[in-house]
């Protein structure tokens, strides 16, 4: 078997303390301290380059923090296989010769262990995951033939097949049309019933307010973290976004910079 760590269930699913990440002397994240509760849904919002992707990668254990600690159920993430990382769609080679079912089965690689090929039980996990995200009919499609929303569902299915308890999603809604965004958000609501904890980087403050239990306002450090009505206050948003905010006619505040290309560090 590949390394697995046992969970100390008296510890929080995610506990981050004084996390800092530096790139070539540049500070991406500093003094990040927070913890998550099982089954909650948290949105991470902040301007471009605020460190949202970096935070997600550090929590997933694929990026080493410069200082501070990340703990998943009481131990470092680098032995946990319960973290489902859902990449930005732009970072995927969509011409790779795999079908939807192949990609979802990749999520079973760790549980399968070396030298084992998928068994009946693993196919049941894959089929169940595809049913949960409602793309069973697309199982044998090549992945380039999917729409943006279907691509995102496939990665969520992969995280489900992985039996992940903490799903980290980097901009899952970016570039999707409104119905597809709603579909994904509804899907996240359903995952709550399965006790999956979800952490999503997003640009949309309205969606963050309407679909998530708590919001983290991030700009290299945590500007605010709490329930939406507490966090989405004008002075806090101004602190996080600086001048890059504007008010809409109905009184909402919207971040002006909307996308994300400088965040791939």
């Amino acid at each position: 078997m590949y390394p697995h760590t046992h969970h100390q269930t008296n510890q929080p699913i995610l506990d981050v303390s004084h996390l800092a990440v530096h790139y070539n002397g540049h500070v991406a994240l500093e003094d990040i301290t927070f913890h998550l509760h099982e089954g909650e849904r948290v949105a991470v919002v902040g301007p471009n380059g605020a460190g949202k992707s970096t935070l997600i990668k550090a929590i997933a254990g694929v990026l080493q923090p410069s200082s501070g600690d990340v703990n998943i159920y009481g131990s470092h993430p680098d032995k946990h296989v319960c973290i489902g990382y859902i990449p930005q769609r732009s970072q995927v080679d969509w011409n790779f010769p795999v079908t939807v079912a192949d990609v979802v089965m990749m999520g079973r690689s760790a549980k399968l262990g070396p030298f084992n090929w998928p068994r009946k039980k693993d196919w049941e996990f894959v089929n169940h995951a595809l049913e949960t995200v409602e793309i069973s009919n697309l199982a044998s499609r090549q992945i380039s033939q999917l729409s943006g929303g279907q691509q995102q569902r496939m990665f969520i299915a992969r995280a489900i097949a992985q039996e992940s308890e903490l799903m980290l999603m980097d901009e899952p809604l970016t570039g999707l049309d409104a119905p597809s965004q709603d579909g994904i958000l509804n899907l996240l609501d359903r995952l709550k019933a399965e006790k999956v904890t979800v952490m999503v980087a997003t640009h949309d403050l309205d969606q963050a307010a309407s679909h998530f239990d708590r919001i983290m306002l991030l700009n290299h450090r945590i500007v605010a973290f709490g329930v939406p009505q507490e966090v989405l206050k004008t002075e806090k948003l101004l602190e996080a976004y600086g001048g890059r905010l504007r008010s809409t006619e109905n009184g909402n505040v919207v971040a002006v910079d909307d996308c994300c290309d400088d965040e791939h560090v």
Partner: protein, 273 residues
Amino acid sequence: MSFLLTPLQYEFMQRGMIAAVLVGIVCAIVGTFVVLRGMAFFGDALAHTILPGIALGYLVSGGAREPLFWWALGTAIVASLGIGAISKNSQIKEDTAIGIIFAGMFALGIALISTVRSYAVDLSHFLFGDVLSVSAQSLWLILLFGGIVLFTIFAFYKEFATLSFDPILAATLRLPVDLLNNLLLVLIAVTVAVSLQTVGVALMVAMLVTPAATAYLLTNRLSKMMLLAAIFASLSGVIGLYLSYYLSIASGAAIVLTATVFFMVAFGWRRYL
């Protein structure tokens, strides 16, 4: 019928045929990952980098061919891990670093071989291969080491597939990413050593990428891509050797040209039909 059978009455043609097919299959399967991970330049560089090792073996053994496989194998493994380390840690860009090393080592190889009087003939065998001179002993080595490569890929199929498609997923699944990356480099190195006599260092990259790229155009499944690539490579080996026999052209070149024609037909078929 006699058209097909006449060449096969020669033992060297039979051995060459078997060698070309075996090497083709191994190259095609390994080449699938070379193509999918964009490692064609690495493969080309690696093949060229082993020339000084072969040259040294050639000088030490006084021109005997059999020990050269071991020299090629050793140099290839050292060079593959060396290039892998350099491309990870280098200050200059990866392809520049590889380019410098590969050209320098290649020059060193030519310099060493040029100290021997019959150097033009010997050099051309190393550069372009000489499948018709494969001995029975070499054939066993190809079978053994090619078999090891194929078995390893079969054993770690899901790991290599996952790592190639999504390295971050592989990392979050806590697969041994560095180990698997180095294992793949070593597999490519063994493949290069195994293929040396068939296509030579200069044409090696064609065996690694052309059949796999042809298959890539025709299927959407990794396993089918491997199967199709192996079929194209075997056919290229057989057809190439017949062409070599009847048209009196160099065997390595004939095999590679056949593979290239397959690619162009597949490309045109995808593009215009």
